[in-house]
């Protein structure tokens, strides 16, 4: 076994939070596409993910990748009840902003802006950080996500009360808990196994 750390090719390092489409360059060798077996394809869930270096690195443990992906999709895409998609994405973006994951923040800020149509507010979260004043409802969702992201965890009864006060029922509060907690999973993978790359300047 000659496992080694990879030296990413020359690229532009993003130095601010952005909604731009970023690339991601692995620090460890992903599996080669031609080596993917049916077991690995099951782990990828979406066949298109075989094109992604990130997923081909994670597919070295296909069972946990498959379970992780199906957890992710249900938390964010299940349309039944709970929190609107835009605000699940807001929780993901706020968590990523708090942990400092420029890549994850870019993806979920795009989704939050698309679904909420509040592009300016999403950009202010990226630019000014999680202390920014958006509106009462978004402030409560951001504050709850940040409290869940802290280690030790700072989420408490006051956060639940604040979320209820701005109109969230318990199903919606569970979605905030799931979305923020899930991005504490995703951020740690994206941050520690590779780095983001910005698009070439025009």
């Amino acid at each position: 076994m000659t496992d080694k750390v990879l030296d990413p090719p020359p690229h532009i390092e993003p130095v601010v939070f952005t909604r731009d489409m970023l690339d991601w360059l692995p620090w460890l060798e992903p599996m080669a596409e031609q080596d993917l077996t049916p077991r690995h394809m099951a782990g990828l869930v979406d066949p298109a993910r075989a094109k992604s270096a990130y997923f081909r690195l994670l597919v070295r443990d296909p069972e946990v990748l498959e379970a992780r992906t199906k957890t992710d999709k249900d938390i964010f895409y299940n349309p039944e009840a709970g929190l609107p998609r835009a605000e699940r994405e807001l929780a993901a973006a706020a968590t990523s902003r708090s942990n400092g994951c420029i890549y994850c923040a870019s993806v979920h800020a795009r989704f939050a802006a698309t679904y909420s149509k509040r592009t300016d507010d999403v950009d202010r979260l990226l630019d000014k950080g999680v202390g920014v004043d958006l509106d009462a409802r978004w402030n409560a969702i951001v504050a709850a996500s940040v409290a869940l992201t802290a280690t030790p965890i700072a989420f408490g009864a006051a956060h639940v009360d604040a979320l209820r006060k701005v109109g969230l029922d318990d199903a919606a509060i569970v979605d905030v808990i799931n979305a923020a907690s899930f991005f504490n999973w995703a951020n740690r993978l994206m941050l520690s196994l590779g780095e983001p790359a910005a698009p070439e300047k025009k």
Partner: protein, 197 residues
Amino acid sequence: MTDVIDTLAGITPGSPLDAIRNQRLQARNHAQASYDSLFKPSSEADASKLERLAIACFVAALHGRAEMAAFYGTALAEAGAPAGWQGAIAAAAGAAKGQGPYGRYPKGPLSAEDQPGPACKLGASERAAVGPRLAAAFEHTHMLVFHPRDSAPSYLQTLLDAGWSTTGIVVISQLVAFLSYQIRVVAGLRVLNARSA
């Protein structure tokens, strides 16, 4: 089938939170499947079950969560961990506790938000108790828990040098990242459960 998150969060069948959790049944079942695949792995070639449980105990202790530390501590003891591991994990975690997330950003406008903080170095007696391979994993785990934005290729080189394979590093990363999720879901649901009428 026992659901670990429900058990640790105190969610009982037929309760309102049980019904809400069932509205995200795929997430509920696959969080459990993630736990199963990490702690009952089909192969221990790249990371043994004992190593995984030891890392889990360290993560639980770094978070200061009694329910998680008890759960993984019991599992580690039942798996037949060497005498001295539990004490070494508790001592290492006690010496390495912090307040996260901290760390540095790439040089530029975000440098104004840099919050530098300590990296973890295990003490000599803890290192001797768990061995150099697990000691390296613990030091990496501390970074993932408290200051993940300080990640750099050099952290991965340290793990390779300590005998972890590329796949083993993927397993450690998934393990600590999953636990960061599981611990937060349990903590959040416990707060909500206690706040429900």
